[in-house]
């Protein structure tokens, strides 16, 4: 059963630049696992050591967050869409908490 999985820009470095992948799976968990099998380098960014999903990764089936459905067991309809969505947060933090920098100049 083919399902389209949409990959956010932040993770495309691990999918050869692809923004989506056609994968097999009947549940959200199976589809995400199929992505990790196809692109092993992405696995560490999706899963904790205990194989649970990392807290900053959200998975949507259609426009439904699986946290509000059946979790990784949420069924995916044939031809459906699964989407990985990163959590986004930050802020100025404590006034003394600025972090050290690697340097400037716009080069990694």
């Amino acid at each position: 059963m083919a399902v389209d999985l949409l990959i956010p820009t932040a993770l495309r470095a691990f999918t050869d630049g692809k923004s989506e992948a056609s994968l097999e799976g009947k549940t959200a968990g199976e589809v995400v696992a199929a992505l990790a099998d196809a692109y092993p380098d992405i696995r560490q960014h999706l899963y904790e050591e205990d194989a649970s999903l990392r807290s900053f990764i959200n998975v949507y089936v259609g426009e439904t967050n699986i946290k509000n459905a059946g979790g990784l067991d949420t069924p995916v309809p044939d031809g459906g869409t699964v989407m990985l969505v990163p959590a986004i947060a930050g802020g100025a933090g404590a006034r003394q908490a600025d972090m050290p920098f690697c340097g400037g100049g716009g080069r990694p």
């Binding site: 820009t9 932040a10 495309r12 959200n58 969505v85 908490a97 716009g106």
Partner: protein, 148 residues
């Protein structure tokens, strides 16, 4: 380097002033024109900014922001419909320098441009952009340019 289309950087500054003394936040949409395969950060062009509601509780918004997953999902879908990429996210630092905090570091992902605008006593000041290193060891400032 990240280049802002005319009005895009000013829109971030205006949003920072509007939400002061709370942090504003939003997404940056555009195109990667040079992925920087040779080792650099490459070039990216920010064509639009999308303000998003800061979902943190009001008493924490002076130094924290969070974008709800549903909002990130909608922004991602909107970008795809327009043929654009989500290049990164912006937020303001009210009465705090435009430099990432340790809290920013803990929540950052590689690839994204993290644009920060300092807002000093209600007036927008420095606007900077930062990229997390691939090994998550720290941020490197990304050169910025505003058109028109």
């Amino acid at each position: 380097m990240i280049t802002f289309a005319a009005g895009a950087a000013d829109a971030i500054r205006a949003e920072g002033e509007k939400t002061y003394p709370h942090e504003c936040c939003g997404a940056i949409l555009g195109r990667v024109t040079d992925p920087g395969i040779s080792g650099g950060f490459g070039l990216r062009e920010a064509e639009a900014v999308v303000p998003v509601e800061n979902a943190r509780e009001p008493e924490a918004q002076y130094h924290r922001f969070v974008i709800e997953a549903d909002d990130v999902m909608r922004v991602e879908l909107a970008a795809r419909r327009q043929g654009l990429d989500v290049l990164g996210f912006y937020h303001s630092h009210p009465d705090h320098p435009a430099r990432p905090s340790e809290y920013d570091h803990e929540h950052a992902l590689p690839f994204y441009s993290y644009v920060i605008v300092a807002v000093e006593k209600g007036r927008a000041a420095a606007l900077t952009s930062w990229r997390l290193t691939a090994d998550r060891s720290g941020f490197i400032e990304e050169e910025t340019e505003a058109r028109g």
